[in-house]
Subunit: 215 residues, 2 copies
């Protein structure tokens, strides 16, 4: 057990962390272009399982970066994911983050339809007219509703970050997205979280932001 504190300047902590992650990932196989995303998720969780369970649709990175460049907004299913996303960098490209979980009309719609508020949030998001990235880190019901809205051609996401966490319909909701033609980044299995959703968003943002490390 290490007990002595390592001397690292505040500004160097992140780079040092990414150095350690890169070192420990040696031998793992994944396309190099996805390295910054995989590493930032591991940076956020200290969980190397994400080197194996993150799945990327073909060409998703270029599509995602294009969407951000053209000012896409991000829709989250938790206030926590919204809190974790670097909104300053997103704003540089004209985007903002939406979360409707606390909205009265969403609560009313969920009650009326016998669904979750997270699912009702997706209906509300479908009415937005900007290009949209969905970052779903908590509620599989949001991901299922998003899938249905795509099937009904009521929504066409630029990117789905499908990383809800948990035990009830989480695995299944992700498999639904993996079977679509939509651009996706999905954490297959039970793992994920609001922190993971925010980390994926930030990894994408930092690829476009010259001032950041962890690429």
């Amino acid at each position: 057990m290490k007990t002595e504190l390592e001397r690292v300047l505040p500004m160097d902590i992140e780079a040092r962390s990414f150095g350690i992650i890169t070192e420990e990932l040696k031998g793992k196989e994944f396309p190099e272009e996805y390295g910054p995303i995989i590493k930032r998720v591991i940076h956020t969780t200290a969980d190397f399982d994400y080197a194996d369970n993150l799945f990327f649709s073909e060409g998703v990175l270029e599509k995602a970066l294009d969407a951000i460049r053209k000012g896409a907004d991000i829709v989250t299913d938790t206030q926590m994911a919204k809190a974790g996303i670097n909104k300053k960098v997103l704003a540089k490209f004209g985007g903002q983050v939406h979360n409707f979980m606390a909205d009265e009309d969403v609560a009313a719609a969920a009650r009326a339809q016998g669904t979750t508020r997270a699912a009702a949030c997706m209906d509300k998001a479908a009415k937005l007219t900007k290009p949209l990235i969905f970052a779903i880190g908590n509620a599989p019901t949001a991901l299922v509703r998003l899938y249905e809205l795509m099937q009904e051609e009521l929504i066409k996401p630029e990117l789905i970050i499908g990383v809800p966490v948990g035990f009830v319909n989480v695995v299944q909701s992700k498999e639904l997205i993996l079977a679509t033609d939509a651009p996706y980044i999905v954490a297959r299995g039970r793992k994920g979280g609001s922190n993971v959703a925010a980390a994926v968003c930030n990894a994408l943002l930092y690829l476009l932001d010259e001032t950041r490390t962890g690429k």
Copy 2:
């Protein structure tokens, strides 16, 4: 791979999740009183490692619940942890959540002292006069500074939730806290996170809130 969606009413999802977690924890040994905390952290991460790496100081549960009952505030090291804590339930007992990361005086103090903003936040928190619970899910530098402030008798936390995540001084910062007499809940090792910090807070809050499941 399960593909068929399980039919579960929105209000029953959490209870069903906790049922699955309880089932899969069979055979793991931990004091029953800590079950609600361990299970809620697993609920938040889908990571059963937390059944082994959460450490509790003697009598911490009663001390933590007493602190909440008497209106303790919670100090976090990220906006994300603050976003994840159930502030409505905390307010029932007279508590609120503080996070100073975006404060101009904190940024200035960090620059002047060559430390992180998270560490400077602890100095600011030390000036609060209410009983305090610290929920540190991100920055080991915050935990180290908290330790120093305790050594200097400038602060006496009611509870330290020491669950920063990462690769630089994270392990060491937690060992510092484990060696104190302070009431603590610590995720030993590299794992943790803002989501874990919030989950521990919520587990404690829900133990005091009759209306909640997951106990």
